[in-house]
Structures are given as structure tokens and as C-alpha cells.
């Protein structure tokens, strides 16, 4: 079975590492370091996260990127050979959507492959609904999936949608 490389990206604190920890069937490779900026959590990914998952008859290799722009060289390195992109954005932080668009443009310029926008933190007050996020990105609504990356029952949904778009 040919493994599919999927890149999981998006601004800091969107839930990329959480998603990979929720889904991975193998021991997760993570690279957390103590955060020295106020990012709303104690640690942040400095190199990559890696996990694997069987989904709809495919073996997925999930590569999570750091979120901060200073690590854009990792966006570039991890984009190589990716067959799909999952961009995560926080529904309660519309101020970070331009940064998310910047990451998506960067990654798609290196890996022009199908992408899905995953909208997290929908349980917070004052959120942008997936429809509004779709409008912001100019992305068809069927490519935008609201979900909770902490919930094993939901976490695979955006990836299942991505597999449909990849058309495997």
C-alpha cells in the first residue's frame, strides 16, 4: 500500500499537534519546545509532528508543521511530496486568518495539491462559522470542515474529505 503524505499546517494554536496525537496509530514524533511568546499554551512545535493513520483503505503519513512564520523553511521542507494539505484555523481567532492564508499560499505554491480547511475551536463564544471561513478563503464550502481535533470520533473527518478530493 502506497502511503499518502499529508501536510497539516496553519497558524500557531490551531490544533495541528493535537490532531496528530488524537489520530496517530504509531508513536507520535513531536518536537515541542517551551514557548517564550504569549501564544496561549506552554509549548510549541519547532520542527515537525509525525504520525500515521489508516483511513478508507489508505495509509496516511501526517506531517504537522510549526505555525510561526519564522519556521517557514519547515513549511517548505515538509511540503515536498505532499499529496494533500489540511489547513487548520481557529474559529475564534479571525485575526489569524490572514496568517493562515499566507501559509496556505506558501504551501500551495510548493505543493499545488488539493486542500481542506479544518475549522477548530467552534465551541468558543463568538466564532466564525465554517461558511464564513469558506468565504474568507474563497474556498468551496465542501472543502471547509468544522471539527474538534481532540475528539477521536471527529478528528478524521477533514482527512476523509481530503481523500475524496485527492480522488484516490
Amino acid at each position: 500500500m502506497e502511503p499518502l503524505k499529508i501536510i497539516i499546517t496553519g497558524p500557531v494554536g490551531a490544533g495541528k499537534s493535537t490532531l496528530i496525537r488524537t489520530l496517530s496509530e504509531t508513536e507520535v514524533v513531536d518536537t515541542d519546545a517551551a514557548a517564550t511568546e504569549a501564544i496561549g499554551k506552554p509549548t510549541t512545535t519547532v520542527a515537525l509532528d509525525h504520525g500515521t493513520l489508516h483511513l478508507d483503505g489508505h495509509l496516511l503519513h501526517l506531517f504537522g508543521t510549526p505555525g510561526q512564520e519564522r519556521f517557514d523553511f519547515m513549511w517548505e521542507i515538509l511540503s515536498q511530496g505532499a499529496l494533500g494539505i489540511l489547513l487548520l484555523v481557529r474559529a475564534d481567532r479571525p485575526d489569524k486568518l490572514p496568517a493562515a492564508r499566507n501559509i496556505l499560499d506558501f504551501v500551495r505554491s510548493r505543493a499545488p495539491v488539493p486542500y481542506v480547511v479544518g475549522v477548530t475551536h467552534l465551541d468558543r463564544p463568538k466564532v466564525w462559522r465554517p461558511e464564513e471561513v469558506a468565504l474568507f478563503f474563497g474556498t468551496p464550502l465542501e472543502q471547509v470542515v468544522g471539527f474538534d481535533p481532540r475528539d477521536p470520533a471527529e478528528a478524521a473527518r477533514p482527512l476523509a474529505r481530503l481523500l475524496e478530493l485527492i480522488g484516490t
Binding site: 518536537t31 517564550t36 511568546e37
Partner: protein
Amino acid sequence: MSKQEQLQNLLGELKAALPELREIIVASADGLPIAQLGESEIATRLAAMAATAHGLGKRIATTTHLGDLMEIVVRGNQAYFIAYAIGDKGILGLTTPAGSNLGLVRLEAQEYAKRLAELL
């Protein structure tokens, strides 16, 4: 003396001990530049890369049972980039030309990493 001045002085002393060093940077573990000597335009980028190399190196060390990570070496045909943990406070990164006495670099850099750890 402010902490920043003390940091700069320490980096200056390291440079005096190893004059062949090209860049010297101190980065936080999450890749933000804290102090530097040398070409400023690459220092910010080098700080992020030092944190990435160090974070990944630590994982490689655990996964392959190497024990605690002691140093990261990137060897080019013209120079080296070498990084050391400053306790759990950050990373000391430096570049030095090919042909440098790496044993001496290692000795001095580890000593200065210890002194930087007390300061940070």
C-alpha cells in the same frame, strides 16, 4: 549592567577565545533570537533553524537511544554550524570555518553554554 549587555559580553568573550567563529547566536528554545554576534541579517533565521535542529535532534536522540542530546553539527565543505543546548533555556549556535579545531570549539562552547544558562 543589563542582562542584554552581560549576554553580549559573554558572546564577545567567546569570540575572543575562538576568533575564527563567524556567527554566534543565542536563541530561545522556540526559535526567537535573544543575542547575536556577526551578520545580523541571518541571525533571526539562524535562531529559528537552531531551535528546529535542536528540537529534532532531541527527538532523534530519544528515538535512537543516544542518551541526552549534547550537540548538533551541520558540516558543509566550507564551514560548520554547531549548536548546544543552554540548559533548557535556549540554544547557543555558531558557525566556524572548515579546518577549525572542533575539540577546542566544543570545549569553549560548552563552557559558555553553562555560563549563559546561569544568565538566562
